[in-house]
Amino acid sequence: MAYIKDKGGCSRIMQTYLVRKFKDKFAYAVCLACVIVAVIPLGSILFEVTKNGLPALNMEFFIEGPRAIGEPGGGIANSIQGTLILIGLTSLIGVPIGILSGIYLAEFGNNKFGKIVRLTNNILAQFPSIVIGIFAYLTIVLLIGSFSPLAGAIALAIIMIPIITRTTEESLKLVPNTLREASMALGIRRWRTIMSIVLVSAKNGVVTGIMLSISRIAGETAPLIMTILGSQWFFSGLTEPMDALTLRIWRLALLPYDYAHTTGWGAALVLIIIVLSLNILARILTRSKFVLRGV
């Protein structure tokens, strides 16, 4: 280390070393601090939602609809119903399409068209949901002339499909090729091989995708504003406005009454339980990390 020695640098190297050690420790502390900073909001949200939401929960809350604005009491049963209907309708549209296009991408998607589909899905998965809501408004609501749960479901399906497509594709790709070959060697046709053998052995991944996507759409608000509008009433047909938990939370939060805020927190508690339990369940089902990316 001649160049260091001849400058009499022994102590300087030592100094540098200490500074480096300090920087090392400091970087560690900073990264840890980042983690803590990120965890605080989650902790606070869970705490506040539970603390403020619990007092709202009672029998009435779960079986009645809202009273007239300004009048305390009533419940959010119609909103829960609406959210469940939306989940059902959306899944009816989104799950088959999502799974089938996932199958296409995994089994036949090694071409230019597959690339375009994949890119489109990636874009839609990250897309502003309010724009999707406008699209559903322009095509469905304007077409049938009224707000409609169907329009809401279509908007949500556009959000759901990319998630299911991607998880299906990735879990099918994990199925070893030998399984396909073995089945085809038995003379079973390709399509039957895929539908009955490959899909079945990938079912955990596919179900995970479905649950994650439901957890995601159950929490969507923006695209519902211009499709189902929100309502005081229970579901009354596919050409009438309908309510949803998320819309209710938003509307209640903006009302200037304490009782409304309490009900809002209560609704938030119900929503967060639905969303997080679906999400956690899905992640327990498959502990692999591919499904987690950016969903």
Binding site: M1, A2, Y3, I4, K5, G9, C10, R12, I13, M14, Q15, T16, Y17, V19, R20
Partner: protein, 270 residues
């Protein structure tokens, strides 16, 4: 400089051993998970000498030299036991910082691994900058000297700001050698440094290794018997994680003690 390291590597004087050896291992064992890769290795490596490590693929050559600068422990699930003395100080004792050990014991890897997005210049200067050398003129000087030593200077002197990834495989390996030389370690561990090079570059690297003997202690892993015979003073033959034979190179190649060694050198296995 040494004084500082001694301070950092301070261990009770009882544990100090004979100083003519730069590196000594004592019952060195290494594992990957439950698989034992090194078994009771005892080897003494003289200062300012070139020691070649030979043996069939998978016998633990890389693992051995990676134990000499505490790189082995970076593999998750890897484990080491036994002692490795550097200038008489056990580098595995508690109060020794591996950062200092690696600073003194440099390494060139089997596969070239330059920093691909950094410029050629920054690749070579990386280690120096870590040690607080910022003076541009000094950096220039050392970068040039190191690249010249690694026989790369003439090829890259006009594109020092090109990224490391833009070089060919052989050039990348020489860049890695230059990078290791730039920080002037005391020991240089070379893991098959010429396996990615063409014969001309390889022979230049061999010349370089021989010329470095004056200032460095060198341990080189090689699959090339001629290379081992040409450059090294001592040769160690490893087989299935054990040190089978270790002697003066001439002796190993002309008159080995063990039959296993003879068979290997004669190309009868491995």
């Amino acid at each position: 400089m040494i004084g500082m390291n001694k301070e950092l590597l301070s261990v009770s004087s009882k544990e100090r051993v004979n100083q003519t050896y730069k590196i000594e291992t004592e019952n060195l064992n290494a594992w990957f998970g439950t698989k034992q890769a090194l078994k009771d290795i005892n080897i003494k490596i003289r200062a300012n000498s070139i020691t070649a490590i030979i043996g069939p693929s998978g016998c633990g050559k890389s693992t051995l030299i990676r134990c000499l600068n505490r790189m082995h422990e970076l593999v998750p699930s890897a484990k080491v036991s036994g002692k490795v003395f550097l200038d008489g100080v056990d580098i595995y004792s508690k109060n020794v910082d591996p950062v200092i050990v690696r600073r003194r014991v440099g390494m060139v890897f089997q596969k070239p691994n330059p920093f691909p997005t950094m410029s050629i210049y920054d690749n070579v200067a990386a280690g120096l900058k870590l040690n607080g050398i910022r003076d541009r003129k000094r950096l220039d000087e050392i970068v040039r000297k190191s690249l010249e030593q690694a026989w790369l200077w003439d090829e890259v002197k006009d594109d020092l700001d090109k990224p490391g990834a833009s070089l060919s495989g052989g050039q990348q390996q020489r860049l890695c050698i230059a990078r290791a030389l730039a920080v002037e370690p005391e020991v240089l561990l070379l893991d098959e440094p010429t396996s990615a090079l063409d014969p001309i570059a390889a022979s230049k690297i061999e010349q370089l290794i021989v010329s470095l003997k004056r200032d460095y202690t060198i341990v080189i892993v090689t699959h090339n018997m001629q290379q081992a015979a040409r450059v090294s003073d001592y040769t160690a033959f490893l087989y299935l994680g054990r040190l089978i034979e270790y002697d003066v190179t001439a002796k190993i190649f002309s008159n080995p003690r063990e039959e296993l060694t003879e068979n290997y050198i004669a190309g009868r296995f491995g």
